[in-house]
Assembly symmetry: C2
Amino acid sequence: MGEALQGLKRTIMCGEVRESNIGESITVMGWVQRKRNLGGLEFVDLRDRTGILQVVFGDEINSEAFNKAGAVRPEYCIAVTGEVVKREAPNNNIPTGMVELKAKYIKILSESETPPIYIKENLDAAENIRLKYRYLDLRRPDMQNIFKIRHRATKAVRDYLDNNGFLEVETPILTKSTPEGARDYLVPSRNYPGMFYALPQSPQLFKQLLMVSGFDKYFQIAKCFRDEDLRANRQPEFTQIDLEMSFVEADDVMALNEGLIAHVFKEVLGVEVKLPIKRMTFKEGMEKYGSDKPDLRFGMEITDLTEVVKFAEFKVFADAIANNGSVRALNLKGGASMGRKDIDRLGEFVKTFKAKGLAWIQLKENEVKSPIAKFLKEDELKNIINTMNAEDGDLILIVADKNSVVFQSLGQLRLELAKKFDLIKDKNEFNFTWITEFPLFEYDEEEGRYFAAHHPFTMPMDEDIEFLTSEPGRVRAKAYDLVLNGEELGGGSIRIHDTKLQEKMFEALGFTTESAWEKFGFLLEAFKFGPPPHGGLAFGLDRMIMFLAGTDNIKDVITFPKNQNAFCYLTEAPNVVDEKQLTELGIATVKNEK
Amino acid sequence: MGEALQGLKRTIMCGEVRESNIGESITVMGWVQRKRNLGGLEFVDLRDRTGILQVVFGDEINSEAFNKAGAVRPEYCIAVTGEVVKREAPNNNIPTGMVELKAKYIKILSESETPPIYIKENLDAAENIRLKYRYLDLRRPDMQNIFKIRHRATKAVRDYLDNNGFLEVETPILTKSTPEGARDYLVPSRNYPGMFYALPQSPQLFKQLLMVSGFDKYFQIAKCFRDEDLRANRQPEFTQIDLEMSFVEADDVMALNEGLIAHVFKEVLGVEVKLPIKRMTFKEGMEKYGSDKPDLRFGMEITDLTEVVKFAEFKVFADAIANNGSVRALNLKGGASMGRKDIDRLGEFVKTFKAKGLAWIQLKENEVKSPIAKFLKEDELKNIINTMNAEDGDLILIVADKNSVVFQSLGQLRLELAKKFDLIKDKNEFNFTWITEFPLFEYDEEEGRYFAAHHPFTMPMDEDIEFLTSEPGRVRAKAYDLVLNGEELGGGSIRIHDTKLQEKMFEALGFTTESAWEKFGFLLEAFKFGPPPHGGLAFGLDRMIMFLAGTDNIKDVITFPKNQNAFCYLTEAPNVVDEKQLTELGIATVKNEK
């Protein structure tokens, strides 16, 4: 049963009624949060987007309304007209708690069955039920608050960029499939049977073309698509704050984006981000934190012990060093209290990152305990302890291996220990850093070739260009990531704006000239006509909202998210379609062998 | 060749340099619009997004810069440093025309081949060339101006709706295929081979679910997709300003949207839209203008002659009236000067809209000439002339047929005559009107059933609900379109918020309960849990920008549009993809028989 309003008008929102409204006749509309009968009166907590207002029905206030109110149940949608009065027993927990509404008229706008999930904060229902009844899940005030934050954040982004001369420009969703990147979602074409559009993984090529067009400063809050097996906190469609600027260098792009981030955090949370944001090279990030997205809310940096133990006879150290690897360690202050079993567990932990083992030195009650002590000379042991600045009560944790393994295992161990020992003191801290001078390429051992670490349009650093084909591994990129509390918030680069250099880049990535032109010919062609120097950046909006809203679940910041298999419990998409539709597209489904 | 900036910084945009900058040293960057050698000096018109600045190179100003400038050609991208000086021969046609830049340094940032299209206003190149080299086409100042307008318009939309309590919310692009509407674009699923997502034709269902969730006021500037054979000014992907409100009636939605439109036209064009915007029922629109989107910039209303000629013995009139049709006419003031051939051409014109013919009465030099005069009594002829308010020099054009044919043919004829005789006097006028009380259903004679005129979620008018299944043809909807200068700018309705009524609606549309639940079950289910009364509207953003920018080609307002076959000349999408991609999706292409 759904009733039309027939001229009835809402005059104020539930959450906005205050003592200043006492004596006024108002009409509110919303949902019944709960109803209780007390002393012959019916008390209804009425909820809308702005909050809750207590409504009281009584036989002596208005007997028709009172009788009608008897029938309402939670989540009924109702309209109530009445008089605002001072509340006898104020509720200081809600902004409307000083007043209540004496109901003189009620209209039931629609009824509700018993909802399958409770409409309350911090709900702990099964995820698939929450997603199936997402429209009820979204009634919860904490969910609505997230989408208010999302709205305010995107508004702040647009205001800031508009004020800074950027034009918001839409680029196509139906576009061309390109390799080098994630798997594309495809869209069969009806006009050209057997051919396909692809949904964009990002507007990268289009925004570069807009720079060639002289748009100068572009941005877009853009939907992007990747058909990947979903890791936690990934969704098949996600949103990027995407921007690009002409006639700039890396410093210009970084400065602009610092300003943007500071504006958003100020507008949404009232938090002042201290500018300029500090910077760290990729090399420093790896050496000190074993990560290109270091969490800087706590210290415990990695220390290089290679020099200290380079003559040690301990085979594990010697082998690592001989193979161009290194010996590095963390000092866990106060960690000496850990039991043997717990330390062994840390050893298991680093093995998941391919480390062969974890050596340790315990400084406990002025004694040095270590399973590797016997392999080390006394001064070597002393040197390690000195280099690590270790004192009584500390635990030194050492990995010796090739560098990539040392960095990853100690970097992950550092984060694990921070969690275990609660090393992050200020949970409300937002610790930003830029990471710069990324390697241009990453070597894939399985495929035996180099891949673009960022993407194939990234400009190498001027001083490294000469090594592009001879020593790709040492070429650094004009690329920069903005890292917040150990997560990548966004990243970008200065782009190549030269056909020859772009071709050389594709060559380094194993493309033939022909295949590069086949896939990216329109960009290479565009670069023949006076492309400007340009660069940009993209932020993951969903992740930014997660930070602003204080949630670690990406599904919380997307209105209608999909599950790990890219399935929507609400609409049951994907689903079967009519054969006729497929025939028109010139495709057929085939039974998969698996 | 693309050069990096290496620390060189732009200090001002080309179009912003003024007399107040005289004496300053500035650096500008942009494209060479043209270069000419005059009196031993090189004059370069340098262009960026903001305009053009004249740069002068001379051997005596700086001989190195002068020599380098000799090599530049149109569309080279360059940076120039120099001193702003007063221009000897001012150019009053451009804002920078009082000054010029004496160049002391030039850096060629990239070279350009001869562009295949000219970079100038009002270009008349072949469309496929413009689309293939779209990045050059977009360099033209008039194209850039359109995208500045588009940016300002969407900014104005967002500011206004934000100020009015709306939340901008994103809804999914990968969703479920639904029938009843246009053809969906499909996206094969890799996780569920044989199943498909569909790209949304609009966010209709999601925005209604957001109302069920209590979001209260939603908007989105949303990409929508329809796989239709493209008529002129349609694109496979297009953009909607989409909004929805809870606890409202039609008047509330219309008032809000009038305010929105007025704000946008004021912000972008400085035009004051007079509010409230006038309203007209669908019935009045059809009877007076033969259209549900009448162009009100000129009069020449249709007049009903049925009563006047109801006893006439003229068979064409009598038959039309006997078959529940009508006899209606236009009076073309001053049209009596038309020759017989031209009038015959109008007859051919109305035949394309299924009219059997066009009767006419010419009042010329105080004589009445008409091929049908012989079939009419003298007083019938006189009555027609009186009813039409016709005077000497006028031409009366009459169609007799069933009403739908009469309305369409006279409505189209009215527009045709307006064009031919230049009846729209003020080309800058924006003449808005609301059309209300649309029929809920349209009868499709071919399929022999009713279709939803708007969409199946539209609320019938309260007083017509009783006829929903008995007499669908007479049921009017709580629907409204905003019409501007004869084009539909947007449309919306109050929605059904009742499971039973929604089911009844689907029944009237020929769905079984089962098939309705299969397709729209999640909406019907949602309505069980206290849905609020709600309604909304969607504007076609692309069309709105066409009005604001004064262009009648939709491709002008989309950065990278597709052609009539949904093909992109620039990227050559759609295109073939690897077999491997199709195998992963569990689909194969099949040869089409046609």
